[in-house]
Symmetry: C2
Subunit: 212 residues, 2 copies
Amino acid sequence: MRMKFHEQLDELTDRLASMCRLAGDAVRAATDALVRADLPLAERVFDLNEQIEELRGPCEDLAMALLALQGPVARDLRQVVTGVHLVSRMGGLVQHVAESVRRRHPEHVASGEAEEVLSQMGRVAAELAGLAERVLRTHDLELAAEIGRRDDELDDLHRRLLALIEDPAWTGSIPAAVDVTLLGRFYERFGDHTVTVGRRVISLVSGEQMTP
Amino acid sequence: MRMKFHEQLDELTDRLASMCRLAGDAVRAATDALVRADLPLAERVFDLNEQIEELRGPCEDLAMALLALQGPVARDLRQVVTGVHLVSRMGGLVQHVAESVRRRHPEHVASGEAEEVLSQMGRVAAELAGLAERVLRTHDLELAAEIGRRDDELDDLHRRLLALIEDPAWTGSIPAAVDVTLLGRFYERFGDHTVTVGRRVISLVSGEQMTP
């Protein structure tokens, strides 16, 4: 029974890792689409998001099977189950970025320094998804701490972005400010979710290590 | 066993209903705080949100106990479990509104027509939380449909709000546009969550009715 539990747990975290990898691919594609005002690349984000959603059902089934093996008191395990929801939400946030690109096409959603900061946020977000993937696959506590540090970087970029559009020197329009505000928030939430996923895996793994 | 399952299910939906009621109280307080730039009222939102989070743990415990009774394949039941997460998220969104009030105090976050539309969004959001509460308590399919209709109203208000700040005639500043953009999104997401909660309860209840 115990053996089966651990095998299934590994399978669950592996599948969650695959969802994270897709979310990373999606955020990379969405950011490239944003910077180049590239419509086919934005459409690619919708495909990737569909793939994430396809993994979600089997992943939740597995999580529920695990809960049934473990009984109702496994609080850490429950948190991994709701982790499936978080990764799916990451895909949804990236989709919002792609939708902006589509809505403003052939115009760019953002320009100048704002576009540059968003592009950096996209790069960090993709790296965060990659880190979350590796934490899920390796259960490495050091890597989980690294997620928190990189997310601080994302938060700094987010503050820089808001300061940029709130600066009287900024020459963009109000609709552009609205777009940039929402885009910044999408990337920031994406990062928050990777932190939560990482933290939950670690709490599950360390709980497991304490009660071998 | 069957009897116990139904009793526990009723208790779970009742508790979720209480969380919805608190979310409704919170969104009402946050919106009043927003319109009056009222700091103590904004602080009240943080208290209410704490109460929501206090209900969350026992609610999730009950949901997990139910899942253990029912076995791993109860997809509808699982959706109610993740419903706990949604209601907790509603509280989080309302807290963002209160944080805006606190950040801009003693200034108003919004003014003029934008403030008026936000105030209407807050009123509809509170009504949506009330409807979600009643759906959870009564399992009334008509009421669940009503949530969808009222949420359309919220979406219309959201579009009106964005049109307002994107209109060249709008005289507000960019920081005000940023605030209003985010506030509009918070209310819109709040409404979406009530729709999802309602839909999940209905799918659970109709599933139960089909297999009595």
